[in-house]
């Protein structure tokens, strides 16, 4: 059984500040990893938010949803429509996206939460697949189907025109009162939302509400006989995580005003499950970590080609180099899915609690190796193994 790996509330302020510093300083410390370019950092922040929200449902409440990509999609489409109709300011777009994704999540959650376990998972999957299939075909007037919904110069953009910023010569970029939301400013915009989202997640984890969610995951039967009506709690968690997904979807469009239907596909829902578990479901920081690793491997591993491999292994003798390159070539470039698949298997087999659990284990091992008891650096009394 996986147990909830938890830190105590003690030290949250430090933990959060550290997190904030790490996020805001990403453009610096990611340089040696080759990941310090705006688009990837934006993706880290956005998918981090998505996973953090998903974790509130899956990690805390224990409901495995296979349909959260639908809310991401709803958020994206809402945001782009807000750009088209209202204007390129991201704030109304985000507000509307969160609201609409929340409403959508309420409807789907209300129906799906009548069931639990795999039946719940399949219900959410069914709703998401219906949304995706329709968005790709019949709903093309709303979603622009395969090509994806974009902002055009001919769109009304009422607010922009009122502000006298309606005529733009060149591409339409979202801007926050004149500041363009692409490149690094775009990243920092997402990062601020990530920090807000993370802060709320901290509050939920430590609140009585969060405790109720954990209790639902732990023993729903006991909850019923403890005078708690579990379904509204689960539904609230579902809607909150749907709103996070809507926010993430809106941010995807703030940094890149195009909403494609593929982001609603079931594989996209599966991706956020993987992110959460990879980092550690039910932990505060795990989902962010998982999101970062998956997006990193998607963007960096897939970019390797034979040429880059030869550059990397160029120091080896010719014969060996050729062999190493052809073996390594199986795992990168067009083979990066293989790496991803192996990574999942290894993590689930050996670290079911995710990377955060791995960290705890190392920490515990180090503590044991140290001066023995009483050194003050022992595993937290609450950290479960």
């Amino acid at each position: 059984m996986t147990k909830i790996v938890r830190e105590t509330a003690h030290g949250d302020a430090i933990r959060f500040s550290l997190f904030a510093v790490l996020i805001l300083a990403m453009p610096v410390w990611l340089v040696p990893f080759g990941a310090a370019y705006p688009d990837l950092m934006q993706k880290f922040a956005i998918y981090g938010l998505f996973a953090i929200g998903f974790n509130i449902l899956f990690g805390l409440t224990g409901y495995l949803s296979f349909g959260h990509a639908a809310f991401l999609g709803v958020g994206s489409y809402t945001a782009v429509w807000s750009f088209k109709l209202l204007g390129m300011n991201p704030l109304p777009a985000i507000a509307l996206a969160i609201l609409l994704a929340g409403a959508f999540a309420w409807v789907i959650g209300y129906v799906s939460l009548r069931r639990t376990g795999i039946y719940f998972a399949i219900l959410t999957l069914a709703f998401a697949q219906m949304s995706y299939n329709l968005a790709y075909s019949v709903l093309t007037p709303i979603t622009n189907g395969e090509t994806g919904l974009r902002v055009l110069n001919s769109d009304p953009r009422v607010l922009d025109h009122m502000m006298g910023a309606g005529e733009v010569d060149g591409p339409l970029v979202t801007n926050l009162f004149g500041m363009e939301m692409s490149g690094l400013p775009g990243f920092y915009f997402c990062a601020v939302w990530l920090l807000i989202g993370m802060f709320i997640s901290f509050r939920i984890f430590r609140s009585p509400f969060g405790l109720m969610l954990m209790a639902i995951k732990s023993n729903q039967n006991r909850m019923n006989y403890t005078g708690i009506s579990t379904r509204p709690y689960a539904l609230t968690a579902f809607v909150i995580s749907g709103m996070y997904a809507g926010l993430a979807g809106a941010l995807l469009c703030v940094t890149d005003p195009l909403a494609g239907a593929e982001r609603m596909q079931w594989t996209a829902s599966g991706e956020v499950v993987l992110m959460t578990i990879l980092g550690g479901a039910g932990t505060l920081l795990g989902p962010m970590l998982g999101a970062g690793i998956i997006k990193y491997s998607e963007n960096i591993f897939s970019a390797f080609n034979e040429q880059t491999l030869h550059n990397i292994f160029g120091f080896l003798p010719d014969g060996i180099e050729g062999a190493v390159v052809s073996v390594a070539g199986l795992f990168v470039g067009e083979g990066w899915h293989l790496t991803l698949g192996l990574l999942f298997m290894l993590i689930v087999i050996f670290l079911p609690g995710g990377l955060i659990e791995g960290g705890h284990r190392i920490q515990a091992a180090v503590a044991r190796r140290g001066k023995g008891g009483g050194s003050g650096h022992q595993a937290q009394p609450q950290a479960a193994e």
């Binding site: 453009p27 688009d39 790709y136 363009e180």
Partner: protein, 447 residues
């Protein structure tokens, strides 16, 4: 520091650099942007191309072939190998010593045949790797999405395989160029051949992939066949990736139709064609005529998947390795020597796009996108397969011969699947650029 507050400032990196400087960013962000008069201006002795092809997903094989062609093109541009179509292109200023004195380097990315992933990958190549030009792709959705990204970022996009009218129609962009043909041209080229083969009194039944490309093709083919006097009995939309098409094929049997037109590509085409043949459609007689199946857009790679079922079935294709002009022969030879098999049409179009871009830079004397755009617009050339070709200025669409092909009845090898029935001259497929609407807009240098 106030630079990025000015809304007229464009460019992904410029704004980034402003904040970057404020935070004492590493030079990676600032050095390029400040010195440049256009985005990603090469400062060293290399110039970077970005090859954005599907490496995973259903079009991975096509993507792999595209990548092979690009690598070959880079070799030829840098003066390695036998030079391929560099020797046959006319006119050209390329000499095989790189472009504008710089050696060509390249980076690759995976589009996954998804607009989101393709844009993320293209952004990486632009933002991180400093690519000046993005090229490749195997679907229209991706092409349109990446084309508009390149427009906004301020680099050149040389489309790979994309067949929708929209790419150079309502979604055309000044920074984007397409060498591949489109659905309208397929219809225009196919119609006369259909008339010769099947007469002008036919009833057509369309099965159409239910997404944008499928719809544009259905419309184009409908228009050109109805102009022949054909009647369209029905047009049914099928879900993308339906797998089993039997429930869409059986109604064809009971309809009055005597021609089935499959507006499918990729796996959908392989499956629907295989299954249609199994249902005996090709052996059927309706209204006293032999029933016919037509696949308006053929790809040799995909046709391989349908095996013997393609025999005798008409369609169009952009290029085929069996063409006997000097350019095609040279390309097939150098590709075959390098990889041991002939190139696909996707490989051809991608190779040509890379060469054309390099040539345009050389002629313009700059890598600045606006200069390249100017050099490519209205450019006429020959010797790249498909005969004399025009890159039309009004919509950045290439006009050249379109091949009408037929599934080979007696293939001599596994690559000999299609035979060319007719090379339809460019005049016959040329159309008025205004019919599809859209605006090219201004070119964008990205800085």
């Amino acid at each position: 520091m106030v630079d990025f507050l000015n809304p007229s400032r464009r460019g992904v990196l410029k704004g980034g650099a402003a904040v970057g400087a404020g935070l004492a960013m590493p030079t990676i962000f600032s050095s390029k942007a400040w010195a440049a008069d256009y985005l990603n201006k090469p400062t060293g002795d290399t110039v970077t191309f970005g090859f954005n092809v599907p490496q995973t997903g259903p079009y991975a094989d096509e993507g792999a072939d595209e990548l092979r062609a690009y690598q070959l093109a880079v070799k030829h541009l840098n003066g390695e190998g036998d030079g391929g179509m560099l020797n046959t292109m006319n006119p050209t200023v390329l000499t095989g010593n790189g472009v504008l004195g710089k050696k060509v380097a390249f980076v690759t990315g995976d589009t996954q045949t998804k607009s989101d992933a393709a844009r993320a990958s293209a952004k990486r190549m632009i933002e991180k790797d400093g690519a000046l030009m993005i090229t490749g792709g195997s679907s229209s959705g991706v092409a349109i999405a990446v084309q508009s990204l390149c427009q906004e970022a301020g680099v050149i996009f040389m489309a790979g395989l994309t067949h929708s009218n929209d790419t150079t129609g309502k979604d055309k962009r000044r920074n984007g160029f397409r060498h591949f043909f489109n659905a309208y041209m397929s219809g225009a080229a196919l119609a006369p051949v259909l008339k010769d083969e099947y007469g002008n009194d036919r009833k057509a039944y369309h099965l159409t992939a239910d997404y944008t490309w499928g719809w544009t093709q259905e419309e184009s083919i409908k228009n050109s066949t109805e102009a022949l006097g054909w009647e369209t009995v029905n047009a049914v939309r099928t879900p993308l990736g339906a797998g089993d098409f039997s429930q869409y094929i059986t109604p064809v049997l009971n309809s009055d139709a005597d021609v089935l037109i499959l507006n499918h590509y990729g796996k959908d085409m392989v499956n629907s064609l295989t299954q249609a043949v199994q249902f005996g459609l090709r052996d059927k007689q309706v209204n006293g005529k032999d029933f016919a199946v037509v696949v308006p857009l053929y790809s040799r790679l995909m046709a391989q998947g349908a095996g013997e079922n393609v025999k005798g079935i008409l369609g169009t294709t952009n290029w085929h390795w069996s063409l006997q002009d000097e350019g095609s022969k040279a390309f097939v030879k150098s590709f075959g020597e390098e990889y041991g098999f002939p190139p696909s049409q996707a490989a051809h179009t991608c190779y040509v796009q890379a060469i054309l871009y390099a040539d345009a830079c050389e002629r313009a004397g700059t890598f600045a996108p606006c200069g390249v755009v100017e050099a490519l617009e209205g450019f006429e050339f020959d010797g790249m397969g498909n005969g004399p070709t025009l890159y039309r200025a009004a919509d950045h669409q290439c006009f050249k011969k379109v091949l009408v092909v037929k599934g080979n009845e007696n293939p001599t090898s596994q690559f000999d699947i299609l035979e060319v029935v007719q090379e339809v001259p460019a005049e016959q497929v040329t159309y008025d650029p205004s019919i599809f609407g859209g605006e090219l807009g201004e070119c964008n240098n990205g800085a």
